[in-house]
Symmetry: C2
Subunit: 123 residues, 2 copies
């Protein structure tokens, strides 16, 4: 795309635009990190998995398969994304892999859980 100014309106406040760019530049790391967490939690299946892990402590893929009525591979692929992002971790017990939240990993998530727990009407 052309990168020239797209807007020539008289009220356009160049200082504001520069300040906004600077704001984004300053926060780019956290925007990026939080954006990834939000993208993961923004899928209903994954949000349910995270919510249940928060409530129950640990669960295995086949538990989720039963609870969410989805195939095990479908669950496993969601789990992988969250594990890759460092949101969850696993512990093996025989053939079973128990997944749990990595504690203190995301305060954003914790805020979300408390809202879900309270079952608020508003997001």
């Amino acid at each position: 795309m052309a990168l020239e100014l797209s807007c020539t309106r008289a009220e356009a406040d160049q200082k504001q635009l520069m300040r906004c760019r600077e704001t984004l530049r300053m926060s780019s790391n956290s925007i990026n990190t939080i954006g990834k967490v939000l993208a993961l939690a923004g899928n209903e299946t994954r949000l349910k998995i995270l919510f249940l892990l928060n409530k129950e402590g640990e669960l295995c893929p086949c538990d989720f398969s039963d609870i969410l009525e989805m195939t095990v591979p479908a669950i496993s692929q969601h789990i992988r994304k969250m594990k890759d992002a460092g949101l969850i971790t696993s512990r093996r017990e025989g053939q079973t892999l128990y997944y749990s939240l990595v504690k203190g990993q995301s305060e954003v998530l914790e805020g979300i859980f408390s809202r879900l727990q309270e079952n608020k009407k508003v997001a």
Copy 2:
């Protein structure tokens, strides 16, 4: 898919599975609502737009186009999704449409903004 039990391990706790299903059923409304907000905020461009609106009060599509270095139609389409979801609203002044956050619409978002503002390393 087949809906029979996917896991036959001895430790599978049927009470826990039923409790989890019930938990989800109880929270299904908030899971749905919050999930939609997270899906919207989980896009980096939209997260930036929301973050800037929170900081600056109101901005127009061409401001965002300048700041984010994206075409106006691309911005406009992101804005539409958030407006449809009731997260933002608009005010016309001549040819210019000023967008702003619908206050008190999402405490989840407000939690995210405060973390972005503080520029935390962790999400």
